[in-house]
Amino acid sequence: MTSASEPLDPALRVEALASLLTERGLIDEATIETFVKTYEQSVGPMNGAKVVAKAWTDPEYRARLLADGTAAIGELGFKGPQGEHIVVLENTPTRHHVVVCTLCSCYPWPVLGLPPAWYKDPAYRSRVVREPRQVLREFGLDLDDGVEIQVHDSSSEVRYMVLPERPAGTEHYSEAELAALVTRDAMVGVAEVAVP
């Protein structure tokens, strides 16, 4: 059992594992590079931002997205690991959704990429299911008392993405301009979309 021994430097452990697995033909440098590049360059919150911008500008798409998130997201070509069943939650002036995974760090990879550090932090995971309004305030989002908060703990293979409210003053924005405004944090529900 790994537990019995002295701590090993995390980076050194990774190198040692990679070295042993490479020797055994179980992993190779090219595969590692492909994976890393994929999640650094092509799978990230820019995908979710396109989904949101399309939902803001195309009412029929928005309806499909809220009825069957996985299929509507798939229409834009976004699918893959951790995206088997995606549910989209619409924030409104009276309801604010925020997403967490208290048991690990489940996250909708196809639309948001890999989770950011704060999402994986025990402080966020422990507190947002107990005092979400206070947590959101610490993040800089001070919601009116009239807004009902709904916290979603991703404990199964269902993954959640928040459809944030479209900010006022963006009526003449193109879909691409809108997508540029949408942040990862807004699609988890810890921020609102702002106009610069």
Partner: protein, 219 residues
Amino acid sequence: MDGIHDVGGMQCFGQVPPLTAAPPFAEPWEGKAFVIGALAARISGGNLHAFRHAIERVPPQEYLVGYWNRWTIGAQTMMEDSGIVTDEEVRARAARLAGRDVPEPPPPTPHKPQMPSGGAGNLRPLESPPAFAVGDRVRVSDLHPAGHTRLPRYVRCRTGTVAALQPSAVFPDTAAHFVGENPQHCYTVDFDSRELWGPAAEPFRLSIELFEPYLEPAT
């Protein structure tokens, strides 16, 4: 298992970190760690649930070092369980990479788990009808299994309302231990925050997915 990973509602972790827009991997080793973990189930003959359970078994002091550390140790644990590597080998190789001339132990004999799979992914259609319907009041059972579960402590023994039926899926509690996919109905259950945290709690609604074996009718 009631481990360090089950942090929902704990009060000891302080302020939330800032919302920084950092890249997915702060350092190159983190990217490599990600790939090793992402491939660990395939390499070891395991599955996603076994990987999560391996991370849960990371000792608390190591778990709290950071995400990619627990992810890597979890991947290694799953590979140790299948005889792909041993901890002694990893430590010896690490020492050699660090420039120390230590002997390397022989590799183990692989013994991968053999569990029949109903296909790719985790969603599995079920013939049997669900026991609960939207609107039903349900109580979460007082279950404390020693192995893997997706039932967090903070909802046990609490009463909520079924808000939605989700697709039936592989049951993590058995799949993680390779004793069968054992697909189950899965529900979104809503709880009033005061049911979870007492009358002084912030008012809000907590929604969580719970598998049918975790639930009983509220009386």
